[in-house]
């Protein structure tokens, strides 16, 4: 099956081409068939490849397939080559699986849209780019996928291009990502300058083979630390970490399936994947790892506090995504790359589900996104309510749902690898997560109905094509964690981690302190208790005493406004970066450089030619006799020259 690896990204590309070129003339059902068919077939192919990989012994699970040489210039060679190992195999399944489910959901959600074919063409193109990203066997191809998903993200955020806010959000996402990409490209260039290679296998092999040349840089900043930090700058852009997280909440302007697929489940996790892929570099750069950990933990806490006070259902989920991505970076940063990827996978399930559930709510309410105008929906939308409840419990980390295992794994790794403060931050975030997530659930589905009578008439549970994906993802959110049961349960070491081991064999393992299983169990119990406390508190505030929330907000007015306005970060960025840039562009680049220098030079040349022509034009005066005189004078001059000067 593994030889069909190339088919996996090519199927969505074909679907995108068909819908993009001929979609205008196709019926909606044909468009859906092409889009979902290609995504579904890609998923089947990915599953086949996955089983092919499982059949191999663990040492052999590293397969490189080169298809053609893409760039060959002197010493520099970059091929179109794919790398299949446990890490990319897990990503393959997550991307195609969740992607397929969301394609199905989109049929129902987008059925009334004008640019139906455009939407599915972009969505398939996104799948293609994402699959190139996770399968890439060298840094350059990874970058191609990296930019491809960025492009699709831009196109899909700006899907409603007649809305100014959507266009602005798309541009913001694109520009903020460009800032991160500067670091990413510099990192790739530094890799090439150092190793003369961009292939993952050879670069990591070179590092592992020469421990004297590339030691673990504990003392100071060496070349590996520089590479790791530059690559991480790219990751902060793509994966929405401090300080470049600002684009993700605005990206919610796109259609909800896009938020679920691109801005929750897959694309934004590309940074985590990249860090895990470059584990051999990162694990030898403790300073970079420290940066990753601290940025991740701070982002997790920071975004969670903003999520407490947002009123837009999708924005709450967006900040939750930023926060959960922070967790994944904490996992990678403390050296537990497998736990970061584990959380990536479970998060893809429950966060996609949360977004799709939110989409179902928005769909039912005719476009309403304000939590304050919902309430009591559980009677009207039973399936959406049930599945979202499962997802919310999963993200809170309630035993035995998927989020419990992955989040607990990360928190435990943080503690065991000697980062008690990071663990404390993570635990606090877990409590906040439980609170704001159940605030969302209670405000939307419980309490009194706060929507208008008019909306009430249109209320309906979503069609089958939308509820079925919800149920599938709910099942995954519940059982998805069982692939990585922790060791303290007495069933042996985590199977998920064991499966991923070959992908990280070139990384330097972190020295973990030895703790008893009882201690691990106690920590797990503690984090469940914190999550339960968060849920209980949310219940007290939003269900038991509905007026309490406003009372608290009124008492802590300053803090509440600060959180409601997202710490004024957008305003600060606007003041410090955006407006000075615009002003200098207008005053210096436009009025001085462009108008004066460039336009001046061009117009000056024109005026000079004109002035000379003013003199010369007098010769052409239209008088035949003067022309005759000139001819005669010319002839005479030639004669004189021939007769006297030429000798």
């Amino acid at each position: 099956m593994i030889e069909f690896l190339w088919l996996i990204p090519l199927l969505p590309l074909a679907g995108s081409a068909i819908n993009g070129l001929a979609g205008r003339r196709l019926s909606k059902s044909a468009i859906s068939l092409v889009a979902c068919g290609s995504a579904g077939l890609a998923f089947l192919a990915a599953a086949g490849v996955f089983y092919g990989l499982l059949a191999l012994p663990p040492e052999a699970r590293h397969i490189e397939q080169a298809y053609f040489s893409w760039i060959a210039s002197g010493d520099f060679v970059a091929g179109a080559q794919f790398l299949l190992d446990p890490l990319s195999a897990v990503m393959l399944l997550v991307v195609t699986g969740v992607g397929f489910v969301i394609h199905i959901y989109s049929i129902g959600y987008m059925h009334a849209e004008e640019g139906y074919y455009r939407f599915f063409s972009y969505l398939n193109l996104f799948l293609f780019s994402m699959l190139v990203l996770v399968l890439a066997g060298n840094f350059l191809l990874l970058f191609v996928g990296w930019e491809g998903v960025g492009l699709c993200s831009y196109l899909l955020i700006g899907y409603y291009f007649d809305r100014t806010s959507a266009c602005d959000a798309g541009k913001k996402a694109f520009i903020v990502n460009r800032i991160g990409d500067v670091g990413f490209v510099l990192g790739i260039l530094l890799v090439f300058a150092t190793f003369g290679e961009l292939e993952f296998g050879r670069v990591f092999g070179a590092i592992a083979a020469a421990p004297s040349r590339y030691p673990a840089e504990t003392a100071g900043i060496g070349i590996l630390t520089a590479v790791a930090l530059l690559l991480f700058v790219g990751a902060t852009g793509k994966s929405a970490q401090i300080p470049l997280y600002v684009w993700l909440p605005d990206a919610m302007e796109g259609p909800t399936p896009v938020s679920a697929l691109i801005h929750a489940a897959t694309m934004v996790t590309a940074g985590v994947y990249m860090v895990a892929r470059c584990a051999p570099i990162f694990s030898r750069a403790p300073i970079a790892m420290e940066v990753v950990t601290v940025v991740g933990a701070l982002t997790a806490l920071f975004a969670a506090t903003i999520g407490l006070a947002q009123r837009d259902i999708k924005r709450v989920l967006a900040y939750s995504t930023v926060s959960q991505l922070g967790y994944m970076f904490v996992g990678a940063g403390v050296g537990a790359f497998a736990s970061g990827i584990f959380h990536l996978m479970t998060h893809a399930f429950f966060k996609a589900l949360l977004f799709l559930g939110a989409g179902s709510v928005i769909h039912a309410l005719g476009g309403e996104q304000d939590l304050m105008r919902m309430g009591g929906l559980r009677r009207h939308l039973p399936v959406t309510h049930g599945t979202m409840l499962a997802a919310a419990l999963a993200i809170c980390g309630i035993f035995p749902l998927a989020g419990f295992f992955s989040k607990d794994e990360i928190l435990w790794s943080a503690w065991a690898h000697g980062h008690p403060w990071i663990w404390a931050l993570g635990l606090t975030t877990a409590g906040l997560t439980a609170f704001y997530m159940f605030r969302l659930v209670f405000l939307a589905f419980y309490g009194e109905e706060r929507f208008s009578e008019d909306t009430r008439h249109h209320l309906h549970e979503s069609p089958r094509s939308m509820t079925l994906p919800l149920v599938v993802l709910a099942v995954l959110s519940v059982v998805g964690g069982f692939v990585g049961l922790p060791a303290w349960m007495g069933l042996g070491p985590s199977r998920f981690e064991h499966f991923l081991e070959p992908a990280f064999e070139l990384a330097v393992p972190v020295q973990a302190a030895e703790y008893s299983h009882g201690m691990e169990f106690a920590f797990a119990a503690l984090s469940v208790a914190v999550a339960a406390a968060g849920i209980f508190l949310a219940h007290r505030v939003y269900v038991a005493r509905p007026g309490l929330a406003d009372e608290i907000a009124a008492r802590g007015r300053g803090l509440y406004t600060l959180l409601f306005h997202k710490y004024y970060v957008d305003e600060a960025y606007d003041r410090v970066f955006v407006r000075p840039l615009i002003r200098s562009s207008e005053d210096v680049l436009w009025r001085a450089l462009d108008v004066r220098l460039i336009d001046g030079a061009v117009n000056g040349v024109g005026r000079m030619v004109q002035a000379q022509a003013q003199l010369l034009k007098n010769i052409q005066n239209g008088l035949a006799r003067s022309y005759a005189a000139w001819i005669l004078a010319g002839g005479a001059a030639v004669l004189l020259y021939l007769a006297f000067l030429r000798g």
Binding site: G622, L623, A624, R625, L632
Partner: protein, 99 residues
């Protein structure tokens, strides 16, 4: 009468014709002056033909005569068109072909 006499006469005739082309304003006069210039050249050809005892020069003269006839036909036609359009034979009034 040696060759030089013919050549001097020819040069004088040519100069008279050339000055006439430049100085005169009437189209007919200019055409006549051009004829004078052509015939000055013919005189040189014939003189050289006789002096060198070769027939080439005389053949050239026939060519020049043919061209002169054609030129006269075209030139006079132009003069008529000019007069019809602008009611004048003064070339300085036909100066609209300029910048």
């Amino acid at each position: 009468m040696d060759l030089n006499h013919y050549l001097i006469l020819s040069a004088l005739l040519f100069a008279v014709g050339a000055v006439g082309v430049i100085v005169r304003r009437n189209v007919i006069s200019i055409l006549l002056c051009i004829e004078v210039m052509l015939n000055a050249v013919n005189l040189s050809f014939v003189a050289f033909s006789r002096y060198l005892d070769q027939v080439h020069g005389q053949i050239f003269v026939f060519f020049v005569m043919v061209v002169a006839a054609a030129e006269a036909a075209v030139g006079l036609a132009l003069a008529i068109v000019l007069y019809r359009n602008r009611r004048t034979l003064n070339v300085d009034d036909a100066d609209i072909m300029k910048w």
